[in-house]
Amino acid sequence: MRAMVYRGPYKIRVEEKPMPALEHPNDAIVRVTLAAICGSDLHLYHGMMPDTRIGHTFGHEFIGVVEQIGSSVQNLQVGDRVMVPFNIFCGSCWFCARGLFSNCHNVNPNATAVGGIYGYSHTTGGYDGGQAEFVRVPFADVGPVRIPDWMHDEDAVLLTDAAATGYFGAQLGEIVEGDTVTVLGAGPVGLIAAQSAWLMGAGRVIVVDHLQERLEKARTMAYAETLNYDEYDDVVVELKKRTDYLGADVVIEAVGAEADGNLTQQITGPKLKLQGGSATALNWAIDGVRKGGTVSVVGAYGPIPNAVKFGDALNKGLTLRMNQTPVKRQWPRMFEHVRNGYLTPRDMITHRFPLEQIPEAYHVFSSKLDGCIKPLVVPGAG
């Protein structure tokens, strides 16, 4: 089969790989019909996640058709069109039993601090991902869901991670009616977080980024006020001014480990790898929220430490809430919101690349060329 393959930092290509095999009675093999590149894939692409092995296939946002099922699979049949949450989870461990699907303890021998994720290095279990023609899907009775007939494939693929993570991020903010909510990052997660903040009763939503096309999308898709940090000497001061010197009640950090906005953080983190990444957005969240406020973190960070202003979080009495998203838990409600037009994930898609052009797709997305907000990958096309 054809698959995206990691060859080292900044290097990927498409190769022939062996077909994935059923390795457990509850496995399924899914033929991928549509995949996406996630902002967190860029951390792998830039060589920032430990134990990313040469030959790994990335991709944790995908939908497809069930091609093969293991002997114990009861809930799926060959030929079913399915959407697959980015979490791999057993449904029965201490954590899954409590709804913490992203923290499953039965799927990742490499680490206890994170559950299983498709195509996200051996730190999350060593599973090849869905930027390929076929993918192994463990616990087929637990994770995948048949795509509802009314749902657009492009909405379905975004619900497997980016959209669900934005919605989850707004929930972590514990928004109450009338809150001022600041969303850091107008990427795919931030845009849905901004839409979701309104659903939870926000009185104001301010989205911060520096890319014009993304800020424009935040205004048109999420009805948000926007702040371009390139236009200000100090974004935190501007946030304070805009909130009458209080700070926002809630800040949602939807950027993660490669945040722009501070050259020192960029050079010591993503470029020289002297720390786990660039924690600029997290520091802006801590400084930009009001005292006693809540910071929700859904941007992705790895296991290596980052330079974070923890003292400010302590002294301000902040509530910090974060997790990888337990995707499937979001779906029933999100399906209603998508059907009603309250959440519009596919509005953010800007590019569609055939699998064979995935090296270009990564470069365009990584460097934010051509107004790229969200690229999809289509196996078998072109």
Binding site: G99, F139, K271, G341
Partner: protein, 195 residues
């Protein structure tokens, strides 16, 4: 829009008891924002409360059947055993595999040494494959996807963006190790030929 310092005093909200500029009314927000307030009740959101027990996860086992181990699977020593299901994507191999196995066997996830050894193994893995790629006749290139710089407006897209400053460093980060290896090779050859 700004929650301006108000009430004629010039004193911003942060310095007095109440917010001086109330948010727009719920009716106004409902009229302007599709779906405003449909998840208003915090007790009725999908991930609240945190320890909500799902009714049915689809699992029909207490503990999953164990996936066969085709090689001794490396695992975190914070785990009691190899988890019943695991990825088999890229088994450890070569010198990088030795480093990875040592890192997993010796250090817990709480130790920075664990992660730094894995990062070191990643770079060794990369070098091992680079050598192998030259032998295979399909050599790795320093970076991929660069054609899009010309086809997708590399210069135009970056105009006026602050991150363009550190993009200038990317060629250094990417090409640096290649230049260093090439330099070392040249120096080594010169030293040998002088003998």
């Amino acid at each position: 829009m700004t929650e301006s310092s108000t009430a004629g005093t010039g004193i911003p909200s942060a310095y007095v008891r109440d917010k001086r500029t109330p948010p727009p009314s719920s009716d106004e927000l409902r009229a302007r924002i599709p779906g405003w307030g449909v998840d208003l009740n915090p007790a009725d959101r999908p991930s609240y409360p945190k320890l909500q027990y799902p009714a049915d996860t689809g699992a029909h086992w207490d503990f999953p059947e164990r996936q066969p181990e085709k090689w001794p699977r490396e695992r975190s020593i914070e785990h009691a055993f190899v988890t019943p299901v695991f990825g088999t994507a890229q088994p450890p191999h070569g010198l990088s595999g030795v480093i990875r196995r040592y890192s997993y066997a010796r250090f817990s996830e709480g130790r920075l040494a664990h992660w730094l050894l894995l990062v070191a193994a990643d770079r060794v893995d990369s070098a091992e494959h680079r050598v192998r790629s030259f032998a295979s006749g399909r050599p790795d290139v320093p970076a991929t996807g660069l054609r899009s710089e010309f086809t997708r407006g590399g210069l135009r897209s970056r105009r006026g963006r602050s991150d363009a400053r550190h993009h200038l460093l990317d060629p250094v980060v990417v090409a640096g190790p290649w230049v260093a290896v090439a330099g070392a090779a040249v120096m080594g050859i010169r030293r040998l030929t002088r003998r």
